[in-house]
Symmetry: C3
Subunit: 387 residues, 3 copies
């Protein structure tokens, strides 16, 4: 049986086999190393990628490391208070500069552990022992390789392209206005968990983009929010999402459906009775609750592996209160997330089989089909077929 190869020959994979019925992508999009590299290059690296939160690095010299598809970046607060990001390697002999996950650079200097080349927080090379003897050498020629950064409401984004195709604000578009009431800049990190997942990054986004699986996979969630209450926005080129109703009597998503936390202060009546689930292209999932926000950043590791950094953010006033705990929110979503990762991993396993052929999306899986088309469109626009 050569089912896969037939399908992968199809010129328009999203409608293969049927004009009217949208179908899942051929296996190659979930398993092939070359395709994966193209996807990283033309879909991931060309966009603004969310790498974390500004409140992780409040003071000059604070930093964290972030691995972006194999690339180690240093994200830091500079002396002027700006957030900057640099490739984590010395301009001398390429040595990785920083091994710690997060911390503070002593004396506001980044010093290479090999030959002590020393950089300022703005990336400028300040000292390079014995290089003065080298004809033609100037410290000005060897600053750290900087990566473009920008901020949205407390979230830090980087762009690895030399010339980003658009500013962050344009990539976000109407989301800036839409999510203003949650005032993410006023939130503080309460809990973090990192999940390794044996599945392609798209399967994680697709799992997030429908609740048709909720009755089967998430019995605890079904008690709080009905899976048919979902109301998706029409798909956009830069985000996909919608909201679901909280059941009557349910205040927020916790195991009990209750919470001692005050609701976020600027939410309207409608926003207090829903949870908003959005994929923000390319790697951010935003779950906006009445009293807290969960962010998931997705980090592709290989065609078949991803990592998700999941963070719970609470209002700075609440997080400072005695007795504050993030555990009720965490307990609920940790259970639910693990259920989601598990079925995503099962999908990865099946899609890798020669018995897999694209299957039909239901009307309630429209966002998944839109994601497929966005990714294919990005490849078409940016890549030649056999590149």
């Amino acid at each position: 049986m050569e089912l896969q190869s037939e399908e992968s020959m199809s010129t328009s994979p999203t409608t293969s086999g049927s004009r009217s019925m949208p179908k899942t992508l051929p296996a190659v999009y979930y398993t092939d190393e070359a395709h994966y590299r193209r996807e990283l290059e033309h879909f991931f690296f060309s966009q603004w990628i969310c790498v974390g939160r500004a409140d992780q690095i409040p003071a000059a010299g604070n930093f964290f490391r972030r691995d972006v598809a194999g690339e180690s970046l240093i994200v830091l607060r500079d002396e002027a208070g700006a957030v900057r990001a640099f490739y984590n390697l010395c301009r001398h002999r390429g040595t990785r500069l920083c091994e710690k996950e997060a911390g503070t650079f002593p004396a506001r200097r980044i010093t290479c552990p090999y030959h002590a080349w020393t950089y300022g927080l703005n990336g400028n090379l300040l000292g390079a022992a014995h290089m003065a003897e080298t004809p033609g050498f100037s410290v000005d020629d060897f600053p750290l390789h900087q990566v473009k950064t920008d901020l949205w409401d407390g979230n830090i984004f980087v762009n690895l392209a030399d010339e980003p195709v658009r500013p962050l604000a344009e990539q976000l578009g109407v989301l800036v206005e839409k999510f203003r009431p949650w005032r993410m800049e006023d939130l503080r990190l309460g809990k973090r968990v990192v999940y390794p997942i044996q599945a392609n990054w798209k399967l994680i986004v697709q799992n997030y983009s429908e609740c048709l699986h909720c009755p089967m996979v998430h019995p605890a969630l079904a008690k709080l929010s009905h899976y048919m209450s979902g109301n998706n926005e029409p798909a956009q080129w830069n985000y996909l999402g919608g909201r679901m109703d909280l059941n009557p009597g349910v205040k927020t998503m916790t195991m009990s459906g209750q919470s001692d936390r005050a609701l976020l202060p600027e939410l309207g009546e409608d926003e207090r009775r829903h949870v908003y689930y959005y994929w923000v292209m390319p790697n951010l999932l935003l779950s906006l609750h009445p009293d807290y926000v969960v962010t998931y950043t997705i980090w592709p590791k290989s065609p078949r592996e991803s990592e998700v950094i999941c963070e719970f953010h609470f209002h700075k006033d609440e997080i400072g209160k005695p007795g504050f705990t993030p555990e009720d929110a965490f307990e609920f979503w940790d259970l639910t997330n693990r259920q989601d990762w598990h079925v995503s991993e099962l999908s990865q396993l099946g899609i890798g089989s020669r018995g897999y052929v694209p299957g039909p999306y239901s009307m309630r899986e429209g966002l998944l089909h839109e994601l497929d088309k966005l990714m294919l469109g990005a490849l078409e626009a940016n890549a030649r077929p056999n590149q």
Copy 2:
């Protein structure tokens, strides 16, 4: 030294270096990923493969999983009592359906753990939530992908080809008649052990096909059966094998050479004094003893790795007796098998060296040369050179 590449350029590898002296294959046949894939496609997947025993799934809804070179299959008993096999993935979004090694499907239904698509034991799609809203969707279009199955004397075979080149009975040929006296259908599983082996599958078959190594490798075996007593049949296109004498006073192959078990009831005098060792193309080794049968199914994992599932089968009357134990047979063969796997792994290591060149087969290794020719013939008939 470029010894290997010279050899692998040779147009007729089985006679390289000498017209008269048959030699082992060039290293590429044991180490190269591309060749390995061709071998799987044209030699393994195009044949009827033994996957287990019918007595593992006696009742409707009973199933076991089997991984066939990376493909997960569900093998089950359907409501009509027939044995069927399916690719282990849902027709919706490709999710792996079944994670358990073996068991019984509740209510005779196979339900996908993701969105609860539900299939009957015949593979028909019975329910698919919310798909009715999708224009043009019909459950009739999305049955599980079935794999052809057939039975021989209690052994289950599958064929992954769309159109098998021949029926199972034709692949087995005279073996059906030859092994009838052992009445394998009346045997029941008494013991199973799974061996991971760091060697190409052909090295396992080759090791099985000669006893020239027995004095060196198997001192315990040498006490029961003389290595020079082996009497091979002329090589056939579909099997290779022969028999060896039990030494005088030896009843069967156990550490003591004795056994409390009754001999299998329909064996003739001659069959009671020999052990029959046969490779049944492509993946079954059959060791037929006077009082029990050992089956080995060989599962290639990579050019350099295989797995062997080794099962001991006893007459249903014996296995039901109080005090029955398979351990005497198991103890002997477990020791002997591990000795065989070890030298096979040493061969794999040496063949992977640039110092390896094909070496001469002795007259007592004729079956090995025949195996090489069978495999090469299958590739020549089915594959274009650079495919």
Copy 3:
């Protein structure tokens, strides 16, 4: 950003970006599998490689195994007292002959564990059961595949080329005379340690070839020997190195700078006040101290992985004394080596990033640039561009 690919397109990588300023190599030389294979073939396998010491195999039948870039070799002492090396596999079916790391072949015979083919210590096939029946077979046609060996002052070298481009003595050149005072043949092994290192072999040699990093990386070393006291010889085609002063009052390199051992008997005054650090092409690092010698043999495992076998050798008279211990020397270098391997691993990590571009060598890193040129020269002389 496509920084790497631009650089790797450069036709003269060692001077890319600047005529006057030597720079590190593009990343491909440290990360690419195909380049790595070329390097092994044209730089490693074509040279005389140091595999160990003659005093490891003093008597006929003594042997040790050595893995040379995936090739297992047997190095032994034959009946005539000569050192020989063979590929570790049987000429029959390719089976690895010897699994032990070191030992003595019983009865001066090498016997294959599979079918008992038996070889003499000179590699001749002496016995092959049942092969006499095979027409045309002669034991004379199937000796072990021998690898050329030679000795230098107690060090054993092998050459895997069919026709070495030059004798060992010519490869060593003036080193034979230069290091005669240390009388390495009179030294005996006192300590061995094996280090797995996640770095390309060249990074290990480069780290060894400069002490600019010493103040930052090796505070303990800095107390014994000033990093600016280094005095390099002009680079040679076959070795790179120089010497460093022992600080006043320091007798040798140990944690205390002191030692109970007698100095090596034939050293001159100058040699007693320095430590000599030499890379002997392609895989030997020699650290010559007033009272002991450290050898490092470097074993590439992959573009990003190497193994170093580090051995401490002492005068045969000292090592025989009651109370002799190698631990003071070992303790100091084990600490220092681990610091070196760590920064080498950090370099490997950074060089693998898309943010890496070749950086400037200082005047004190001249030997590193010379190593790069030697390697590139060997590839240019031996390999066609796209081979």
